[in-house]
Amino acid sequence: MFRIRFHGRGGQGIKLGARALGSAFFAEGFEVQDAPRYGAERRGAPIAAYVRAGRAPIHERGPIREADLVVVADESLIPVATAGVLEGIAPASVLLVNGLTSAETWRERLRLRGPIATLPPAPASAGAPPAGSACAGAAARLVGAISRAALEGALREEVAPLGARAVEASVALALHAFDLMAPHAGSVVEGEAPRLAALPSPNWIDLPRELPDVAAPDVFASATSVEVRTGLWRTARPVLDPDRCHRCSWICSSFCPDGAISAGAEGLPAFDYDHCKGCLVCVAVCPSHAIRAVAEADAEGPREAAR
C-alpha cells in the first residue's frame, strides 16, 4: 500500500491536492482512502492530508505516521516542529518539497538518506490555489502508478466546483509538475504491512484521579495564547520604513486584528512577528505608505523572536 502524507498551509489547496491524487489512484483501479486532518485550520496555519492507495481493500484509518511519500507544499513548514513534516520519515521514504531550495541543501540540512525531489513553486493562477494541484501532479508521477490522463481526469473532477478557469489552470499546473518529475518517476516504494511482533508495547498507564483545578479544562493564567507562534502562518511580513512613518501611532495598531502592532514612546509602531499572521491590513491602511509587505523568504531576521 502507498501511504502518502501532504503538508501545507490553510488556503494552499492541500485538501484538494490530496483528493485529486486519491481520485487519480482510484481511476487507475486502486482501492483508495483520502482525508484531510480534521481541526481548526485557518488560512496560513499548518495543515495535513493523507492518501492511502493499494490493490487490496484498505483497513488502516486515520493519520499516517510512517509515510512512503511526504509531500511538502510549502518549504517554510519544514523547520516548524508543530507541523510534523519530518515525522516518521524512514530511509526509503521520498520527500517532495515545493520550493526554491535545492534537494542537496535539504539533504544536508535534514541529514536525510532517502530520495528528495524538489518542485519549483508555480505562480498564483486564476481561482485555484496552485500548490495543491502542482503537488498532486508531482506526487502522481513519483508513485509511478498513475497515467497523465488519469491525473487530468481527477483534477477536472475535483476542481470543477471552483469554476472552469480554475480547472484549466489546475490541470496545466498538475501536468507540468507531472512532466517535471519524470527523472524521479516511480521512486516511491509501497510500504509493507507492519509486523505485529516488531511493534513496541503501547505503554499504557492508569490515569490518576486528580482534583478539579487541574482536571477540568480551565486556564488559570492570563494571555497564555502568546505561547502560540501564529507568526508561523505568515508568507509575507509588514516592514516599517521609519522615515515615511508619521508616528500617528494609532492607525496600523488599531486595525491589526491580532494586536501585533504597538506604538512605543516615540510613536513608532513595533511589530510582534511572533504573532503577526501576515494579513497585511496594516500595509493597506497606513496613510503614508510607510509599511510594505516583504515575502517571508526575503525577510531579514527570524520568523519568530528567539526564545
Binding site: 481541526g39 490515569l207 484521579r209 478539579p212 483545578d213 482536571a215 479544562p217 480551565d218 488559570f220 493564567a221
Partner: protein, 417 residues
Amino acid sequence: MSRRLLTGNAAAAWGARLARIDYAPAFPITPQTEILEALGGWIEAGELDAKLVLLESEHSMIAAAGAAAATGVRVFTATSSQGLLYGMEMVFTVSGWRAPFVLVNVSRGLATPITLEPDHTDVLAARDSGFLQIHCATSQEVLDSVLLAYRFGEDPRVRLPVIVNLDGFHLSFTREPVEIPTPEAVDAFLPPFDAGAVRFRASHPVSQAVAVLGSGPYSYFRYETHLAAQGALCVYDEAAAAFARACGREWPAVEAYRCDDAELAFFLIGSLATRARDAVDRLREAGVRAGLVRPRLLRPYPAAAIARALEGVLAVAVVDQNLSMGKGGVLHAELASALWGAPGAPRALVSFIGGLGGRSVTLEEFREMAEIALRAGREGRTPPPRLLYTAEELREVRKLQAIAHGERAALATEGRS
C-alpha cells in the same frame, strides 16, 4: 427537629432551605413547580436569603445554574421530564465544568405520547452525563438526600452536580411524615460551599470550559470526570456516615431489605421500593425467602455494594420503570454487566418492565414475579423480559382505539355523503 406532613416536593424545598442555598434558577413544569413556589415564598418572607430567577427554558436554567456554581455560590434547581431533556445539552456540559449544584428531578414519563404520569426514562437519559444521581423512596429521603447531595457533590475530590430524583405524583404530591432536621444539625453536617480556585474573581483570571484540540486532552478531561464520579462512592459513604451522626438517619448507597438469607430479591429504584418492602414482608409470611435491593445511588454505580447485597441470592426480579427502546430495561442491563463473573452471583436475572407512565405494580404482580424468578433460578433458564400489562389494560386500550378509529371512519363517511 420537628415532624411534619410534607409532600416530596415540599421536602425537596426544605432540603434546599436547610442547605442555605444562594441561588435558584427556575422554570415551571408539572409536577415540579411546587418546589420553586415554596422557595419563592420563603425568599419573599425573608426566611431564605437567596435569589430565585425564572429563566425562559430548562436549557437556560441549567446554563445559569452551572455558571453561578462556577462563580462560587450554592445553587439549587429543579425540573422534570421534557424539561430535563430540553436542558440535556447543558446537563452534559455543566458537569464538565465541574460546577457542583443540586438538581431535583421529579420523574415523569417522556413524550411521545406526552403524559403527566411518572416513570424513570427521563432521569436515566441523564445517566451518562456526569451528574451524580440519588434516587429516593420517601419524602424523608428526598429532604435528607438534598443535604447529602450538596455534601458529596461539593467535596473538592468530586465537584460534580447531583440529581436528586423523586417520582412524580407517588412522591411529589403525596404527603407523609417527615422529620425536619434543625438548622444547627444541618450546619454542622454541611459546611458552606468552598469553590477553591475554580471561580471567577477579578484578581484571579480564569478561562473555564475552554475548547480542546486532539484526543489526548479530550480523553484526559472526560476520564477525569468519570474518575471523580467513581471516586464519589467513598465520598458518599463518608457523607452518609456524617449525616447519620448529625441527624440520626442512615442512608446507605444501596438499601438491602431482608436480604441476609434471601433466595429471591427484587431489584428496583424509587418510591416503588416501599410497596416492594411490603411485598417482601407478605412473601416472607408465605414462606418465600424474599428480599429487596434498592440502589439509592445510580451514579456513581455502587457495583460492589450491589454484588455484596445479592451474594448468595438465587434469582433476581429486576423491575425497570423505564424503557430503552430496542433494548429493554436499563437497570437490568446495568445489573447484568455489574454481576457478570462475580463470585456468588445470582443464577437468574429476570427483567420486568413495570410502572411505565405511572402504572402501579400490584401485590399479586410482586408474587408472580417472585415465582417466575425463582423458577428461572432453579431451572437455570431465564424467560424473556415481561411487560407488566394485563388483559384488562389491553381491553381498555381497544375501547379507546375503537373511538379513535371510529371517529375517523365516521368523518370519512360524512365526507363522502
